[in-house]
Symmetry: C2
Subunit: 475 residues, 2 copies
């Protein structure tokens, strides 16, 4: 999308397209309205189907975690305890043990994994939970991007070997590609994060960043190799074939569903409003009848016929019967992002045809009624175009920078800088902190998709570069 002020555009579309409501009575908590929630439900459905395809099964763990569970893994609790909502009273009673509202479910799930894992035959475990987590976020909140309650999927796996867990991380990357990129059309870069930026308790973290229209990156999914860091304190172990008791190797994977929606809205939107992909849209085709008083009856009858025809094809169609003008209706449904508009006037009625307008590039065509099913093909081609354009924009936003100054300029222009960097292990943290301070940007890590050979010297310390790192401002 190209708009002059993305932040204003974003805040405005949240309200105008009735996506969320910020007026709920608890700071950092928002209401997700029907138009957005329908899209989210479709996204969940597609994501869950793909998880089933690769062997995951759904599970439900409680939303509350006993304090003693939460505190079992030291690094983990240190990372989260400042963000936990605590329940200490129920009805009129004080609870014996405080309960945390889950900020993430590792410590809820793994005590059970310990009970479920006896022998090798119980492995691998591949389970996911769709739902909400709560974090007492202290940074400024932004609707769907950062809040104190968010919707996600978390998939937690356990394996007999390290190799099994590492393969799972790569499968998670592949699942992310299939769903977020291919099915939702949102392009991203998948990074191995620097060691100073990994999940609390993980060996390492990989994360998908998409690029928002203002040039800041948004993390939309993460997958962590937890190694044996949790299996040891939680005693998730199994009897191996060699007769030895061993700790399992674990991973956790989490696509952030409301962030993915935020990205979808921002990447495809334009100055007129949203553009929603066909398969995700609450209304796929809107029919706008255009008539004078004398032609109203026959045009409305024909419009209803078209509506019925499309409904019978399983298309989510809506005939706008309101008293507004056609122009008002055009604007309204363009703002809401309905991918296909069907205009029906005198000419269409007489020819038994419809005029089909694509939301993305507003191209028009006439279809005879008996081939109206083709709008699905039109919409799918439109979506392929949207995907391609978005991917190209992301690719073009990556620029080489070999000096701190070049990097700063690139980042200020909303680009992602590709830079030589000393090290992404803790040794490099000092250089990162200088970038953070001077440029207000983040080192996002190195690309997972291809091995890039480091050349030249670290743009901060001047030592021989060990990595090709990507630097950008973040949400």
């Amino acid at each position: 999308m190209v708009v002059s002020n993305f932040s204003d555009w974003y805040n405005n579309i949240m309200k105008e397209a009735e996506l969320v409501d910020l007026r709920y009575g608890v700071k950092g908590f928002i209401v997700i309205r029907p138009w957005a929630m329908f899209i989210l439900k479709k996204m969940y459905q597609i994501y869950e189907e793909e998880l089933h395809n690769v062997g995951h099964m759904p599970v439900h763990f409680p939303a509350v975690i006993p304090e003693s569970y939460l505190k079992k893994e030291e690094e983990h609790v240190a990372g989260f305890e400042g963000e936990v909502f605590w329940i200490s009273k129920a009805g009129f009673n004080e609870l014996e043990e405080r309960l945390a509202l889950r900020p993430t479910s590792e410590t809820a799930m793994y005590p059970m994994y310990a009970l479920w894992t006896q022998g090798k035959k119980d492995l691998p475990i591949k389970l996911y939970q769709s739902g909400t987590v709560w974090r007492y976020e202290t940074k400024a909140t932004k609707p769907l991007m950062r809040g104190r309650e968010f919707l996600w999927i978390e998939a937690h796996c356990a394996f007999a070997t390290k190799e099994g867990a590492e393969n799972q991380v790569m499968e998670d990357v592949e699942t992310t590609n299939k769903v977020i990129s291919s099915s939702f059309g949102i392009p991203f870069l998948f990074f191995r994060r620097p060691d100073w930026d990994k999940f609390a308790g993980a060996d390492y973290t990989c994360a998908a960043d998409t690029l928002m229209p203002d040039g800041r990156v948004l993390q939309i999914a993460t997958t962590h190799l937890l190694g044996q860091n949790f299996s040891k304190p939680f005693e998730v172990k199994f009897m191996d074939d060699d007769g030895e008791e061993k700790y399992v190797w674990q991973t956790s994977y989490g696509p952030g569903m409301n962030r993915i929606l935020a990205a979808l809205i921002s990447i495809f939107g334009d100055e007129k409003g949203l553009v929603i992909p066909w398969h995700l849209s609450p209304v796929q085709a809107v029919i706008v009848p255009i008539f004078k008083e004398e032609s109203k009856e026959s045009i409305m009858a024909y419009s209803r016929e078209v509506e019925k025809l499309l409904k019978n094809k399983g298309i989510r169609v809506m005939l706008d019967k309101s008293d507004e003008t056609p122009g008002f209706k055009f604007n309204k449904w363009e703002q809401k992002g309905v991918p296909i508009r069907i205009e029906i006037g005198k000419r269409e009625e007489e020819n038994r045809s419809v005029t089909v307008v694509e939301r993305y590039d507003r191209s028009k065509r006439t279809l005879p009624l008996d081939t109206i099913g083709e709008i699905e093909k039109v919409a799918n081609e439109m979506f392929e175009k949207m995907k391609e354009d978005a991917k190209k924009r992301l690719e073009e936003s990556i620029v080489e920078a070999n000096t701190l100054e070049d990097m700063e300029n690139a980042v200020k222009e909303g680009k992602i800088a590709r830079v030589p960097f000393c090290s992404l292990s803790l040794e490099g943290k000092e250089c990162y902190e200088k970038i953070k301070e001077k440029v207000k940007a983040e080192v996002r890590g190195r690309l997972l998709s291809k091995k890039e050979e480091a050349r030249g010297n670290c743009i901060v310390c001047g030592k021989e570069a060990g990595e090709v790192a990507y630097v950008a401002r973040q949400y």
Copy 2:
């Protein structure tokens, strides 16, 4: 189902079929395991589709409710305040206002309804939320039937007129019929509850009771006419055509998803385990190969061919390749309730056929490979039989009782007693309390499905009967 001790059977199947795990570290909270959660997800999907069909849209409201919101409607808070989990701390800070973990969402949603409702054009509102609610239950918990966290759908509607709201209650009844009865196969009686047993804050409550195998009824869905009881304190009002500002009329509807699952398990289960309807089962058909060592290779190859064939037809099929004996496998998958078993031995391989065994009545038939798609038809017919039988059992469990003694005997035998009763308004409460004390049974209300003419005298007080009431023990 006919088993000698239902309670033992139920607790046992929860564990043996790996449906839930009760060992989570917080009292009253359980883990729902993959086999059960998959079924629940399918149920949610079917329910939500039907809600969309009748014009509902999904919405997401926060899980936390400010204390001031919760306390706005007096009867409501009186009904729930003993059951609320309270959050008073976040991170290291005390919150300014305590937050309730939602026990139900009326008080979360209606302040927003007030903002969304300006004129008549904003009505009706028909929104639902799928998710979890939390209640500090003090009665004995029972897995999936009663706990401190439960999964449900809550649909909240607002109308300009009382008639609109009353029609909604009847639409909710119809939706319950379509989904729980027709699609899930669970029979129930829909009652108008007595006035002493209505939802806290409602004008009246209607509720669906199903009959568990031990003769106790289980409430699986409710719909409440809230009238203007909430719209007044929450100021949900609109400008009517006559220029007057009016309060909306409201309803709330809630099918309890884990209770529906409990009913499905109990009503269709038998001494061998579960029987899951085809469209809800995680595995629809399990292939059990039967071979001697010399025929293993060819039979496994043929089994994989059959597996692939069914997979391509979109059937959730599973080839059991484990080293267990066929007998062990038969028992395992019967216990898990897989509706169709496909046995493949030497004869089947040679004839390019399969032997198909129905889980419900264990009837067998042979199908040639080229008509194997018929197993779907077989499974659907099996489901129709299951439905019919269950419905018949419910109908047969209703017995007439014209004296307190007859009623007591009926209830003790696990029947639902149909009795003449003085009144279901508060006047009748004293008679109800005598039944409760003497017979340990509940007055469930009067049938919604047909108007029944009261005859004779109230079985408790002997006054002229004003109602035909149904009495049963409850979960």
